[in-house]
Symmetry: C2
Subunit: 194 residues, 2 copies
C-alpha cells in the first residue's frame, strides 16, 4: 500500500532519507534502549551530526513514539494475516506467537517493536506507548478467548503471562539452531496443557 516510492525526493514527510534515518534509529533503540541511544549516536550512523536530524523529526520523544507505532502497525498486519491462514484456536494462537517472535527476534528493520523498556522513557511518552500496546494486545485477547482452557485458569492472567513471555524472549534469545518458530512451538506446548 505504501511500498512504492513517491514520485521524487523532497525533504518532507515520506522522503527516502527520512526512512533511512528511522530505520537506523529503530535499530539503535532496539539494541541500546531509549536512554542508551543519543541523537548524536543516530546521527553518527546516518553520517550527519545530531542536530541535523531535527530537519526530519520533531523530537527524540516523537521519533520513538512514531517508531513504536509503526512497528506495532506492521506487526498487527502480519499477525492478523498469519492467524487468518490457520484453522482451530490452538493453531491460530501458535501462528500468532511464531509471527510475533519472528518479528521480535529479527532486529534489523523498522518493524521491530520495542515493548520492553517502558521504564526508561519519559512519562508523557510512556502513556502513548502503553495505549498503543494495549490496542495491540487486543489481538491476543481475542485468540485467548477462544481457547478451550481448564476452568481454573484465569484468561486475563493467562494472556498477560503469554504476552510477557513473548515480549521478553528477545532479552535472552541468541540466533542459532533454535528458530523462532521452534521457540513458539515450545511456548505453545507449555501453555497448552491437557
Amino acid at each position: 500500500m505504501k511500498t512504492n516510492p513517491t514520485p521524487s525526493g523532497q525533504t518532507e514527510e515520506g522522503s527516502e532519507r527520512r526512512r533511512q534515518i528511522l530505520e537506523i534509529a529503530a535499530q539503535l533503540f532496539a539494541r541500546k534502549g531509549y536512554r542508551g541511544t543519543s541523537m548524536r549516536d543516530i546521527g553518527l550512523q546516518a553520517g550527519v551530526l545530531g542536530g541535523s536530524l531535527y530537519h526530519h523529526i520533531k523530537s527524540k520523544d516523537a521519533l520513538f513514539v512514531e517508531l513504536h507505532g509503526a512497528a506495532l502497525d506492521a506487526a498487527e498486519e502480519r499477525i492478523a494475516k498469519a492467524v487468518r491462514d490457520q484453522d482451530g484456536p490452538w493453531a491460530k494462537l501458535q501462528a500468532a506467537c511464531a509471527t510475533l517472535l519472528e518479528i521480535q527476534l529479527a532486529p534489523d528493520s523498522l518493524t521491530t517493536p520495542m515493548m520492553n523498556d517502558f521504564r526508561e522513557v519519559p512519562d508523557a511518552v510512556r502513556k502513548q506507548l502503553i495505549a498503543r500496546r494495549d490496542r495491540f494486545e487486543d489481538l491476543f485477547r481475542v485468540l485467548v478467548e477462544s481457547l478451550p482452557l481448564r476452568p481454573e485458569i484465569d484468561r486475563s492472567i493467562y494472556r498477560n503471562l503469554l504476552l510477557t513471555q513473548l515480549n521478553s524472549t528477545a532479552d535472552w534469545y541468541r540466533p542459532g539452531r533454535l528458530k523462532p518458530a521452534d521457540l513458539a512451538a515450545q511456548i505453545v506446548a507449555i501453555f497448552r496443557q491437557g
Copy 2:
C-alpha cells in the same frame, strides 16, 4: 547472622547510615532503573547532596553491583529454605516460584533483585551481573532437572521460559486481590502440563 547491630556507629563498611543509603538506592534503582536513577536522586532521598554519598560508596557502578549481589544472596537463601520445606518436584518448584515472586513483587527492601535492565548498564557492570545471575539460576536448573516432563520438552528452554516469566512479572503486576502466591500457582499450573 548479620542482623544484630555492630557495637557503635562508625562511618565505614557496615554502618547503619550506609545501610540506609543502600536501601534507598535499591528502591530507586528498582523503580527507575540504572540510568533513570542519578546519584543526586539518591542523595535527595537520603537528605544529602549527591557528592556526599561518595564517602559511603566507591562509584555508582559498584553500588549497583553490590545491591544486585546482596539481593540475589538473600533471594537464594529464602528460596533454598522454601524448597527444603516441600516434598516432590512440583511442590518444590512452586515454592521456589512463589518465593521469588514474593521477593520481586515487594519492592520495598534491599532484597529486591533487579534482573531486568541489563541493557541499561555499562558493559563492565553487565558482565558481573550476568555472572551472578547465572549462578542464581542454577538453583532453578536443579529444580527443573527433577521434573517429570514430556520428552519433547527441552529442559534448557523450559527453564529459560520459566525464569523469564518470573522475572518479568514485576513489569506488569499491580498489588491487588491477586497475591504473589496465587500468581505462582497460575504459572506452575501452566508450566505443569499433563
